[in-house]
Chain length 415, copies 2
């Protein structure tokens, strides 16, 4: 085959390959999220990336653009229309409705699924990312809204963030509805108001004011001075458990049109990265798609790329810890069976051990260990076989210690 | 909306929803696989389910049927042909080729991806399953073939299987090539021989013998008496580390046509379930799709459904352990802020705690805890608030203990 006929080693456009160090970070992300949300009693679920397309079409006219232009939707060989899920909330609503009799309420669920969006490649946006989803079903208590914010807060702390690194901004869809009613806004103007608030940060203050005036809403009414009673209550609950970095911000509305109550966003306070990291809110009508009896829900979603960027800027990314502790380099292929015996003893002692098969020179074998960032190397040669003494070299410090075969497991289990 | 207009809560045909107990088993599976393979120095990677369709088309004529009829392949909005990966090996070959300069060899990799096959629904087969993939790149040593079998063996033990529960059958593609050459088989007859051996267990012994004779191969030549030298060597290496349940079986050929050397299958020895659980082998030419310099590989894949069935039959499925330790039931909504304070203390002490928001009666709150299989319940009422004494009830035994607020964390951390 000529070079020209060779396949590309690139991943499909807009998706990522996770090489070992990327995957190690991903596993850290999953473990940290799990630990933080399970502390509040959330339980993990999962589902396939494939969903019937109708699940996203049903949500109403405003979502049609999303379904038609931003999802991966195709017809399967049986004529069914299938979508690669663009978000997890409709899936969890479907699952909860499906077993509403068996599941106990309030029901706390979380998942860390991959979700897909068809983004134009030139924008450099990803088409697939992973997203922690945390949802609480079956309670209309404001305490459940507050709980989700507590979870978000503790999650940030679990990643090593401090109170001053972020702020929780709370908005209210109910407050906006009331505002619209008070100013006599049509449903259309009301939606325009939500859209305008959603884009507030993306335009000059003057432009925002002018557009607000056109809608017939005075700036003062969304200044934040008029804090709704439910926000005050939530802020009190948060303060009681030491969450002090939250406040009311009427311009927080969130993009999805299924939110019906309080909404919130966790904002990065970094001067160069002053943006929403993630957020969520209350949705009351999603399970009504499946059943006449609706279940109230409150939840949030946090993307893996956004949080990774945050951690990178704050120097909070964890160091890579290789899973392998020891590498056996072998001076001669004939000694491989002997080396496998040593490796077997180490593994039986729960020491993660890789063996080189002496396909190449000793120096190249050590280079391989270095590339894999394995911390310790043991040379296995004829001398070692004869004497039963092994030199253990730390690749970090270059230091060597000499140990008897029966001392090896003990040495590594304390390191 | 009338009942008729409601959406179905069913998952897409042929895929599974993972409710909490299913997900708990899945997490056990992942943790067990990780631990077992990392012991041998394997490192985790991952990739998107989306791959360019050409990755599967390139493998040659025999795969065309698979690509055309058994994969999910569609055209994206940019006109690219995309496939939901039907297996992981082409992906890992792509990734290894893409960074061959940076990665050190021998390179040990594993992943637990979901893979998709378009199966006709009436057969009741799944269209998506998860599959542990373990691969070693860059060594032609027979010790690397042996290592993969050791990993498979230890993996079975990690799940609680005994030596007598399974057997490792080793076949050899090289042996078959030699056999074909010796009997003067055409390339076509040679492929027919592999296909026949692959289906040996699915036909009566007489039919198999007749078909073998038609190909011009005497039964005696595949009886297993003629053990190839390389199999003998591998069996010796296995025995050295205590793996005694392996043997040569010339009828083991594996379905995929990319295998070039030894192949193996882990067989269930259960009389009612005497079938292959999983397997793998050596492939020498896969990375040649991407690069002139080919890298030898050896690996295996194990599916989540097959192993689950095995564990169920052997009564080896782990019990469900709920992540939540304590449920606070609250007698009155006004006491919720007080309950949140107790919960906060427990959580700070690393005790996973869920709170009921007193939306329903006490009995219903306890029922919810029972449905979630949460082991302990604490009643939070006015008496408790006044006295600072709390009754902790075990839902397993029904026993109650009375504890002061400052004793709670200590009580649960030892349980």
């Amino acid at each position: 085959m000529s070079k020209k006929e060779k396949l590309s080693t690139e991943a499909y456009k807009g998706v990522r390959d996770f090489y070992p160090e990327d995957q190690a970070f991903f596993n850290y992300l999953v473990a940290t999220c799990r630990d933080a949300v399970q502390r509040f009693g959330y339980v993990e679920y999962h589902a396939s990336v494939l969903e019937p397309a109708e699940l996203y079409k049903a949500k109403g006219a405003e979502n049609e653009e999303m379904v038609n232009e931003q999802t991966y939707t195709f017809i399967d060989r049986g004529g069914r229309e299938v979508t690669l899920r663009p978000e997890m909330t409709p899936t969890v609503a479907r699952m909860v409705s499906g077993r509403r009799r068996e599941l106990g309420f309030p029901l706390r669920l979380f998942s860390i699924p991959n979700v897909f969006r068809y983004e134009r490649p030139q924008r450099g946006r990803l088409r697939e990312h992973w997203q922690l989803n945390v949802d609480l079903f079956g309670s209309k208590s404001l305490a459940s809204d507050a709980e989700l914010m507590m979870v978000a807060h503790d999650l940030m702390f679990a990643f090593g963030a401090k109170s001053s690194d972020f702020v929780i901004k709370i908005g209210s869809r109910a407050f906006l509805d009331e505002l619209a009613l008070r100013h006599g806004l049509s449903p259309e103007s009301s939606r325009a108001l939500v859209a305008l608030l959603d884009r507030r940060g993306k335009m000059p203050a003057e432009e925002f004011e002018v557009k607000l005036e056109v809608l017939g809403v005075p700036l003062s009414s969304i200044s934040g001075n008029e804090e709704p009673e439910e926000v005050t209550q939530v802020l009190q609950l948060l303060e009681d458990v030491g969450v002090g970095n939250a406040h009311f911000d009427p311009s927080i509305v969130r993009g999805f049109n299924y939110y019906t109550g309080l909404v919130f966003e966790v904002y990065d306070t970094h001067p160069e990265n002053n943006r929403a990291l993630f957020g969520g809110g209350r949705y009351d009508n999603l399970t009504a798609l499946f059943d006449d009896e609706s279940i109230s829900g409150v939840g949030f979603g946090m993307g893996d790329v956004t949080i990774r960027d945050f951690l990178a800027v704050r120097d909070l990314l964890p160091p890579y810890i290789p899973p392998t502790k020891v590498y056996l380099v072998v001076t001669d292929a004939e000694l491989v069976p002997f080396a496998l015996g040593i490796a077997h003893e180490l593994r039986t002692g729960r020491v993660n051990t890789a063996v080189d098969f002496a396909d190449r020179k000793l120096g190249d074998q050590i280079k391989a260990a270095t590339k894999h960032k394995i911390p310790f190397v043991i040379v296995v040669g004829e001398d070692e076989q004869r004497s039963g003494e092994f030199k253990v070299r730390s690749l970090d410090t270059g230091k060597e210690v000499s140990l008897r075969r029966d001392e090896l497991v003990g040495y590594f289990t304390t390191r």
